[in-house]
């Protein structure tokens, strides 16, 4: 179980390359960070490697080359584990909410049964108990009529329902580490705040570690403790979330300036003048 002290994750110089026809291309370069019982946000350019970091931690990248000086989960070096050992950790002690929830579900099985199943795999109980658990979780994530939605197939649920089904699935298995890849982007603000509250309680009361990959700067600023900013495969800046406004890196500054505001001007939005220099290797940021 969780060691009382020590970080949940310790990552040093993580590198990931994807295999393509023309050889390997780098997607993540020298990413280092630690995660305690806290909420760590990762924001960054589309294609900068955020989801790749998450999937590498879960060892969900069969066709990629992953190397790291260190990639420890509660003291266990993840890269040294056999796939069989990984199966006991993945989905149970560490859980990832994938960016395209509806397409990571099995298309030909009812969503409720899939939620119940994720509980049955890891815990001993009857089918009826698992069903009841699943139903109560759908309710907990504010799904309007859980009885109906339980019986739907993935293509029949709305975007935001799909995200909440993934969250319900994750909640049931009671993990120590949650990697949430854009978990709330399809939720209206009212439901979003309720779901964030649930996640917040997991961190403050159960002491889990949460990595929150998001494009929503308001969310990261107000919900997370710390933020990593990624650009072209690297972490270019690491900040306290409350000090996002004091960012220094030109990419981060450009992001902040590009955000539209309610009641703001309708002049063309400020866009980034991307510099080749931002892509040159950095020393690992702590």
């Amino acid at each position: 179980m969780i060691a009382p002290t020590g970080p949940i994750l310790n990552v040093k110089k993580l590198n990931v390359s994807y295999r393509t026809e023309t050889g390997y291309t780098d997607a993540v370069r020298n990413v280092s960070f630690t995660l305690g019982r806290e909420k760590l946000g990762i924001v960054g350019e589309s294609g900068s490697g955020k989801s790749t970091v998450g999937r590498a931690l879960m060892r969900l990248l069969p066709s990629a080359r992953i190397t790291a000086e260190r990639m420890d989960f509660e003291g266990t070096p993840l890269l040294a584990l056999k796939e069989k050992q990984m199966l006991d950790i993945r989905g149970r002690r560490m859980s990832m909410i994938l960016q395209d929830p509806k397409f990571s579900l099995n298309p030909i099985r009812r969503v409720g049964d899939q939620v119940a199943e994720s509980y049955l795999i890891h815990f001993k109980c009857s089918k009826a108990e698992a069903r009841a658990k699943a139903m109560s979780m759908l309710e907990a994530v504010q799904i309007r009529d859980p009885e109906r939605v339980y019986n739907l197939y993935p293509h029949e649920v709305s975007g935001g329902m799909g995200q909440r089904i993934m969250i319900a699935m994750m909640l049931l298995t009671d993990p120590d580490l949650v990697i949430a890849d854009e978990p709330t982007s399809a939720l209206d603000v009212t439901v979003r705040l309720q779901v964030l509250n649930i996640l917040d309680t997991l961190v403050s009361e159960r002491g889990i570690g949460l990595i929150m990959i998001s494009h929503d700067l308001n969310l990261v600023r107000n919900f997370c403790d710390r933020v990593l900013i990624m650009y072209a495969g690297q972490v270019v800046e690491s900040l306290k979330a409350s000090e996002l406004g004091k960012a220094q890196h030109p990419y981060t500054l450009g992001l902040l300036a590009a955000q539209p505001r309610i009641g703001g001007s309708r002049a063309p939005l400020s866009v980034l003048d991307r510099q080749a220099a931002w892509e040159t290797p950095l020393e690992a940021v702590q």
């Binding site: 509806k102 975007g159 590009a258 539209p260 400020s270």
Partner: protein, 252 residues
């Protein structure tokens, strides 16, 4: 430039005991050249409305008219040139075994358009992707890159009406800014009409002239964009959603 008029639209979805009246009775009008927003509760039927207008769902009742012509009277070919849609789930809208080239080429072939390579390159450039991506497959793209391919595909036929379902929620705000600037520019230059679904009211404020607030399959209120700042919504749900969004936007 074309207008959209939706009158008494209704649809039931689901099977057997699970059938539900998802849209009981919905009407709204979008003026030609307007950008009209659809906001509201997750699961309230926003994507369903767009899927009815694009005839992805066909068994609805009521009437949908584009530029005064009933949608069902348009030929398939005319309809595709007139209405295009950008889907909320880019993964699902791209065929897993089709390269970006195939995705962009298909509509050009069907509609017998010339200068295909040029049009494809221009479409990718407009959404900020390198030409080399023509040979990639969906699983080799990040979430935001897939969404940009989907936007490029919708733009390539230069439709009169674009249905945009959360077109930028998978993009970082710097890429979002580029796409929103592009969409505004196209509307100004070519007179496109948009229906835009978004949970981000700052995006709605930036893009839209008016917007409708949906809850449980109904439009509870249609508002001018100014309602976001001058607190003029009257329906309780519309008021709640707007004030929560304003607080969310300001909390920084």
């Amino acid at each position: 430039m074309k207008s959209v008029a939706v009158t008494n639209l209704s649809i039931a979805l689901g099977m057997g005991a699970n059938v539900a009246n998802i849209l009981p009775d919905l009407s709204f009008e979008v003026e030609k050249g307007e950008c009209f927003g659809l906001i509201g509760e997750s699961g309230s039927g926003k994507s369903t409305v767009l899927r009815c207008i694009s005839l992805l769902l066909q068994h609805w009742r009521g009437d949908i008219a584009i530029g005064g012509t009933s949608l069902r009277d348009l030929s398939v070919i005319d309809r595709c040139r007139t209405v295009q849609m950008v889907f909320q789930d880019p993964y699902g809208s791209l065929h897993p075994r089709h390269s970006v080239r195939t995705v962009l080429q298909e509509p050009l072939k069907i509609h017998k358009l010339d200068r295909r390579q040029e049009r494809m390159e221009q479409a990718l450039e407009e959404v900020g992707l390198p030409i080399s991506f023509l040979d990639r497959f969906p699983h080799q793209l990040s979430g935001g890159q897939r969404q940009r391919v989907a936007i490029a595909r919708a733009l390539i036929l230069e439709p009169d009406i674009l249905l945009l379902d959360e077109p930028t929620s998978a993009l970082d705000v710097s890429v979002q800014a580029e796409i929103l600037n592009l969409l505004s520019d196209l509307r100004r230059r070519r007179g496109f009409t948009y229906i835009l679904v978004s949970h981000d009211l700052a995006v709605v404020d930036y893009m839209c002239d008016r917007f409708a607030v949906m809850q449980a399959g109904d439009i509870v209120e249609v508002l001018d964009r100014s309602a976001l700042v001058n607190d003029s919504a009257t329906h309780p749900y519309a008021r709640e959603l707007i004030s929560a969004s304003v607080a969310y936007d300001r909390a920084s």
